[in-house]
Amino acid sequence: MYLNTEADKQNTYDAIVVGSGISGGWAAKELTEKGLKVLLLERGRNIEHVKGYDTALKAPWEFKHRGRLTQEQVLSHPVQVRDYPYSEFNASYWVNDKECPYTEVKRFDWYRGFHVGGKSLMWGRQSYRLSDLDFEANVKDGIAIDWPIRYKDIAPWYSYAEKFAGISGQREGIPNLPDGEFLPPMDMNCVEKDVKKRIEAHYKNNRRMTIGRVANLTQPHNGRGNCQYRNLCSRGCPFGAYFSTQSATLPAAMATGNLTMRPFSIVNAILYDKDKKRASGVRVIDAETNEVVEFHSKIIFLNGSTLGSTFVLLNSTSDTFPDGLGNSSGQLGHNLMDHHFRTGASGESEDYGDKYYYGRRANGIYIPRYRNLNGDKRDYIRGFGYQGSASRSGWARGVAEMAFGADFKEEVSAPGPWSMGLGGFGETLPYFENKVTLDRSQKDKWGQPVISIDCEFKDNERKMRVDMMNDAAEMLEVAGMKNITTFDKGCFPGMAIHEMGTARMGNDPKTSVLNKWNQMHDVKNVFITDGSCMTSAACQNPSLTYMALTARACDYAVSELKKMNI
């Protein structure tokens, strides 16, 4: 047999990182900075920082359809069109659904972007710490399994991640929403300040309202420019003013000279060496040529997004792991979670007619969870937080009216009334039966099987939504708002784009896939630090937690490597 040992050597690294999104970018940065030679694999195309943001500096009139989608796009992106994120403004950042289908046993909206940076380019940037209220929730409620970590284990890594990423926010001293290492907070406008004052007074500080903690820079930071208040983040920021792989972690990793990045590299499976009981590398399909290549490394960080990573593991079968790599627990693919949202209320303010704002703040306000804590007890467990904002309406308020003509034009060209909206983000429980499996009856563009998703919200979420809607209306009423209307637009898993839980962390290898270091119980040189590691969902936006867990896991992995334990 002919062995190309030279090529083998060329394809060998200290570490392979699969996926270049928020957590993969962090893994690449941490591992290269610790001196490892790292191969970063990305299934999609490269998007270069600044240069690659095609639409970032376009004026509204430079978009032919002013942001709307053409019939052609609607037909070629049947999943991405189900909700707002996919639009003409950043259409090229979203997948062509037909090239990578999946099976929906129940409706699941899967929003994906295949390119360097992944969803770090389009994310909502809200960045909150979890607390022991969250880490202790499962064990206290007696559901699923206990988190193998507590707040004290992750707190220093939150600080580490925040200091590098640049999170602006206000320190508040709220126990269940711990303060971080914040850049100066963005300001609340007149109406928001008023609403905050009235809510906090009425509920005697049991309900608090703070400015959103957001990964947008309020001052220059680590060589990146501060936010210009254009509120066009999801097109990519030419000022590098929000955290993304491109603006932050990738340049840091590149600067070490230890990084090799390979776009168009679809990781099809992780290779397992049963003698050494270790992963030996990955099998890659070149997305452009369909060529199959193998790469080898001492350790592997799997950061392909929750469902992407789960696919890779389920598709990595061997005699030892016939049901997917590291799946001796049978938990792989199970316990899928997302947040549920799209319910709340809005109201109008009759005051502040002579007040306005300058600039488009890419951030809103946040009301941290207050349900089922401090003595409050509901007919469901866990809770929700609110995001929201106040603003003056623009011309769009005139669309539904029957008026037209000169007076109408004049009227809608002036700032409209103030309104304030609150939308809840609720925790979803980890249900074993909410799961993904491989569907070998279908193939994607590259001949790979697809995943089948069987996931639904249940009673606990449905009961919580009643409060999410009614509490919002009640708080707006307390805040003196008029014409309050409630809404529940319905929510399907996937819509919040916070998929979590399919390779959960836990202390017991019999009931979890990863240990407290995000290390596979079964395969010690594989680490997973994307959303799939989450043991419960909490109600906070999760990305900051992935950043902190990634940095922590990298630190552990490298120390284990040095001790020759892996």
């Binding site: 004026a59 709307r68 037909l75 099976t103 669309v399 539904a400 109408f408 004049e410």
Partner: protein
């Protein structure tokens, strides 16, 4: 057996639940699915769209819809962003406006003068209001899925105008790169709203 039936049988044989979406993917893969089509507007119809838009957003101290090129924008949007049925409905709306004009003034919409055109659009608006008020009392499944012509043309006129360079920078106040956020500023009566 045709392909569609074959795929359905396959799904049954496997005994697994395959959703309509999935089935759609497989089927669309073999016949390329529905195609986006476009309707041909006659020059007269294009003209009529531009005139209606100008009535909705007329030239005042700031440019009107015509100057902002809204007529051509609407025609393009109807052709590229709407399914064929909605395109036909829109053309039908133009024909109906002509019919009203003929009934009222014995001439076509384009032959009518400014005041007459406004009267026609006023009648369209009133009929639309009557229709939507009635719809409100119906159950969701009984409501028409069609967007009334007046609503459609008005919505696209406003979108086209206020996001055009003329509309955004002259009727409204457009700042490409604000550079900072001032949370509470005091404004005087007559101040324009921010574009976007």
């Amino acid at each position: 057996m045709d392909r569609r039936a074959a795929v359905k049988n396959m799904a049954l044989l496997m005994g697994s639940a395959i959703s309509a979406t999935t089935l759609g993917f497989i089927l669309d893969g073999c016949n390329n699915g529905p195609k986006a089509t476009s309707t041909t507007f006659t020059p007269g119809q294009e003209n009529m769209v531009a005139e209606i838009a100008e009535i909705i957003i007329p030239k005042t101290s700031t440019p009107g819809a015509k100057e902002a090129g809204v007529g051509a924008f609407i025609v393009m949007m109807i052709n590229e962003c709407y399914p064929e049925e909605a395109q036909q409905d829109f053309i039908g709306g133009l024909d109906y406006a002509d019919k009203i004009t003929k009934g009222k003034f014995s001439k076509t919409f384009l032959e009518a003068d400014g005041k007459q055109r406004i009267a026609v659009i006023q009648q369209l608006a009133e009929e639309t209001k009557e229709f939507t008020d009635k719809e409100k009392d119906l159950k969701p499944e009984e409501q028409s899925k069609k967007v009334p012509f007046f609503k459609q043309v008005k919505e696209l006129t406003m979108l086209g105008y206020f996001t055009s360079e003329a509309g955004a920078t002259k009727a409204l106040n457009y700042v490409a790169i604000p550079g900072r956020y001032d949370a509470c500023i005091t404004i005087k009566p007559g101040e324009k709203a921010w574009a976007l």
